[in-house]
Symmetry: D2
Subunit: 393 residues, 4 copies
Amino acid sequence: MSAIPDIARPSGGLREHYRRVRERSLALTGELSPEDCAIQSMPDASPVKWHLAHTTWFFETMILASRPGYHVFDPRFAYLFNSYYEALGPRHPRPQRGMLTRPSLDEVMAYRAHVDAAMEKAIAADGEALQQTLILGLHHEEQHQELILTDIKHAFFANPLLPAYSRDASPSAGATELAWRGHPGGLVEIGHQGAHFAFDNETPRHVVMLRPFRIASRPVSNGEYLEFIADGGFRRPEFWLSDGWAKAQAEGWEAPLYWLSDNDGSRSVFTLSGARALDRHAPVEHVSFFEAAAFAAWAGKRLPTEFEWEAASRDFAFGQVWEWTRSSYDPYPGFKPFSGAAAEYNGKFMVGQLVLRGGSIASPPGHVRSTYRNFFPASARWQFSGIRLAEDA
Amino acid sequence: MSAIPDIARPSGGLREHYRRVRERSLALTGELSPEDCAIQSMPDASPVKWHLAHTTWFFETMILASRPGYHVFDPRFAYLFNSYYEALGPRHPRPQRGMLTRPSLDEVMAYRAHVDAAMEKAIAADGEALQQTLILGLHHEEQHQELILTDIKHAFFANPLLPAYSRDASPSAGATELAWRGHPGGLVEIGHQGAHFAFDNETPRHVVMLRPFRIASRPVSNGEYLEFIADGGFRRPEFWLSDGWAKAQAEGWEAPLYWLSDNDGSRSVFTLSGARALDRHAPVEHVSFFEAAAFAAWAGKRLPTEFEWEAASRDFAFGQVWEWTRSSYDPYPGFKPFSGAAAEYNGKFMVGQLVLRGGSIASPPGHVRSTYRNFFPASARWQFSGIRLAEDA
Amino acid sequence: MSAIPDIARPSGGLREHYRRVRERSLALTGELSPEDCAIQSMPDASPVKWHLAHTTWFFETMILASRPGYHVFDPRFAYLFNSYYEALGPRHPRPQRGMLTRPSLDEVMAYRAHVDAAMEKAIAADGEALQQTLILGLHHEEQHQELILTDIKHAFFANPLLPAYSRDASPSAGATELAWRGHPGGLVEIGHQGAHFAFDNETPRHVVMLRPFRIASRPVSNGEYLEFIADGGFRRPEFWLSDGWAKAQAEGWEAPLYWLSDNDGSRSVFTLSGARALDRHAPVEHVSFFEAAAFAAWAGKRLPTEFEWEAASRDFAFGQVWEWTRSSYDPYPGFKPFSGAAAEYNGKFMVGQLVLRGGSIASPPGHVRSTYRNFFPASARWQFSGIRLAEDA
Amino acid sequence: MSAIPDIARPSGGLREHYRRVRERSLALTGELSPEDCAIQSMPDASPVKWHLAHTTWFFETMILASRPGYHVFDPRFAYLFNSYYEALGPRHPRPQRGMLTRPSLDEVMAYRAHVDAAMEKAIAADGEALQQTLILGLHHEEQHQELILTDIKHAFFANPLLPAYSRDASPSAGATELAWRGHPGGLVEIGHQGAHFAFDNETPRHVVMLRPFRIASRPVSNGEYLEFIADGGFRRPEFWLSDGWAKAQAEGWEAPLYWLSDNDGSRSVFTLSGARALDRHAPVEHVSFFEAAAFAAWAGKRLPTEFEWEAASRDFAFGQVWEWTRSSYDPYPGFKPFSGAAAEYNGKFMVGQLVLRGGSIASPPGHVRSTYRNFFPASARWQFSGIRLAEDA
């Protein structure tokens, strides 16, 4: 997969854009049972049904609620499906999202239809005025589309039957030689600028000073990660950050999440298509930052900073796995959050997490762009997260 | 509701008995959605679907598995639906039962039908030989019928929408004067004896020496419990056992479970029919042993021992709420557990719990008998548990 | 060691009795450093210094505080050294007792001297009137003398240096044949009666109906417990109560507390005299109720009830280890707690614990009597607790 | 207090430098009792005695152990007093440091004397060769001198008696007007370079691009922080980072650590000199990063980045409180850890923490320098940590 251009506003107008994104959510969840959609396998994950309702709540709250004549579908949903917006009032506790057997999946679908109908009218009447918030809502829904996949994968892994989300398996990747791309360093411009949509955390564009470095042409593969494991990578503290070592010991990590131990020594992994043989040529995924950094230390390399990654991103392909960077998720200089209720979208999470760049096979089209800043805690493993190496020149 | 005679073997033969019990489980769950049936609201509770499958697994494992020609429905179910039988191999961890979106409710229903068909054949062929285990299996399923109700009530209470399990509400009870029934004490026979079914923990029948005592003619009412609360019952440690006081402080208890705080000072409670006005004449329910004992201390009385309760049980009506006794759940002298795999049924839980006697509105007919020993930890509140007072004569 | 007669009131009068008990506390702690006396190794244990102060606080609060002319040593000590008496006001939280570097050990010694001087005056003036509370205070202090030993042993075990509390080691015991003592059952009188001191939980004396049984002439030995371990006792759930098995797995139990794993296969144990070779003939100690019950099940026997134990106690020697019984710690019929603030002494702990009978090498003289009811949770291991077997006749 | 120049190597030679630092540790702890020195009030803090021994272990392990003829004081200390050096073998678990009543304080003092004597010989023989490691050891000990003060303060605060560490109280500060110092931004050099000692995390010196900004001439005062509290600062989520708000709610924060609630509305705080009236003109201290960032948001300002802080540091005085920056603790570009066992000194902690700059009243002379990078988790409050504001120009 090669780098995808920044196309945030597809052809066909706002209404078509709205429809396409909303329908994609349904397409992703169409094969799941009501029970599948109701489950929450850990506090960090959410039920599929909740994702479907929350993304709908976003449009209802941010756009429809203030429009004359709009009839709120169910006033209690403001409490149930608010994620974390303190300014919008109290909300159902996150770890309890799996308790919501009601409203049923059918009712959530009716909620979606109700809001979609009202949104289409609103777009017809005031498309221009709503455009900015509406586009944010669509990117928001697309972010949740990726979470639907990561969360259902985690949920299915909690079931000893290891159900498959989909029957399609990725074709096996061929071996690719790893090459090193040099970058001369110096002053580079970092961050988003221009007419296309970007999240507030990608701005403002600003100048960063870099030293010369080299960056790998492709992510670390499963086969390479197997070498790390075989060399005692999970038993040798010298490669690990202190908190990472403690976490790995406490949780008994011996391999990336979803790797299955086989009795006969061959490896298989749990995928969205169920258990499959490990593809040694595919990028390693479902590693935490700690496991990424330990691998890099073992390999005598390091992770790139997010600035190095962005500056060099035209020189390599990305979009198969999110790539952990060696950058903590701090605000860019001069950062200003979105205005209004959306101010809580990104800014209040800017501490204690690490930046990931790139995008994954679960990312919606358009989200894979060079300025996108994904972020997760250093111990998170349930995202499609992998490793790209770098080194000083 | 008056005391129900010990009828364990209804008319109509084994096949009719089997059908009647199995159909009652379906009747209890017929209005629930697949999502409702999949949820687990705390580690002590189980999903409805799990109850439906586990009771089926019991027949399959204890009766069918060893019969020639029986085809196991799904060999993986032995792992998924074993509750706690160590002798029968490893099992899915209890706190993870809510993760089982698969098998679906439909598949569990098919599992029930498959086992029912095989059981009917087995009954026809070998009814006499199977009778003992089969009757145990039916009483086992009936116990889970009560748990289906207690667990779905707990699950629905976790939902801010407070859904109703049923539209029928109990009619309001009339006021009943509390009278004291005297018992002369002396040597009494305690425990089950005879042809009717009883669990192993009700045996052997044995002689216990009692001192004279008096016991209340009816359980403590909601109105009486309100007086305790109004008199500072939840804020005065002098009435509480030490562990009970600690628990009440740690969890912020201010009233029985499911009591709702109303802004205007009137009380309502969450019931299987949703939120309802508190019926002051109905027995208080959903109190822990700690709250029962504290009430008794406040009232200047005490809880009866399980021996007093049983000895005097013909002198009062029971069956509306389980009644906490002042007896720890210890084995009767000479206790012998069931044989075979069923040995784990009761015996291994005989420490750290308290005995409850009587039966509740959620108890199946036939379970409300004077020798039945129910048991729960002192802090348990989600059962239909109430209070009957006693005092020394 | 043979059974010790019930002598609660030694010769020499109250003053001598008071002195003897108080001095014994100092004798037990004289070799400990201020640091040793300040440490709290787990929430269930208390620092030695706290024991020394708390027993003093008991006399000050229960006797001196209300006497005209008594000058309270430090009014803040009422908060610091109250253990659990809710009626006597708020108190320093139990798990924080190890935070009290101040008052220093020297100050606590001065506190003891101050109270002792006032107590001697009080005894001289009002000995008769004070006698009952004073005797309770002395038995209370003696109970804490045993806890001083159990708690310092636990604290020293938390130190990788495994310090010795004392240089004296118990002489190795000789082998003793185990014999079975029969008891015909029937009506027996249980509980304390008479002029000698007893705690409220030993009363009232009452009649209990027993079935015929046999009881072992001596406790289970280390050598016998080794056989249980060698036969997979800690790996076979069929011997264990359900909660016991869960606890053993969660905490990784493989042997009694304080048993050390030796590389060469020989066993040593941590004792008050440091690490020592295991004495196969000595009674096994530092087992929980769970481990005692599992051993009994493995041996095809059971634990005696506390009533069997007491009824048969004249037929065997006891006092080396506390002996777990198969009786939950429930109140005796007609139980009345001590009056006044001492009402909280025992009664409020009467749930969720098991009764131990006998007494240990750490028990003060006079505490080893046939009616004494010690009690601890089923998982407690840091007391000198062992096993005596019984069986139905 | 004004900025202190970078003097790492005092006059008088290595021996005098060694003596001066080692004696300062004793001077800081001379008034503490053995009990005071043994206590550990939370897992993040260590006993004073442990600090005294660990700093000694550092010299013994890093310098003396490999020298011919050196006799290790006690081989078990390598296990007891290793802090976190995985390469140097297993170690006593950090949360258990308070269990070490043995070795006694006296023994630790003898250990210090033993190592000091050997070190003086080593310095005399090989001063030049040892200089680099020795200087590191001295700076290491000085870091622990600050921790001795923060940890004993925390420990004393856990005691309801609120003991004083010292009788000297800081004189009340006068009011100081806050001024804003402008900085033009552009390329600045960050990090240590030169002959003076610095920790590895201060290097390498590198170029950073800054935007124009302004920075406050002094830290935020207690009086200013009181205004934040009075304006609902601890009850208004809009000022808080998401994790900070969750932490503040979970722990019930209502003011900085050590602030005492007074009944009459006047404020006092716990200090090293015991409880004192709050000095409104003194810098606020013992705030977490979360509380610092919330204050800045309330004030309409922000925290400076560590690069802004360092670039502007000549324009203001610092050294009274550690100042939280808005920079996560990431490695500098081209960072190389110390060599050998000291590689674990800083590098392995470079994730999940925030950088503090400046220095506090508890910091040893010489540690207050413009390139020093202190670091703690965002929720840490027990350090002398305060707030300096910044804003975009």
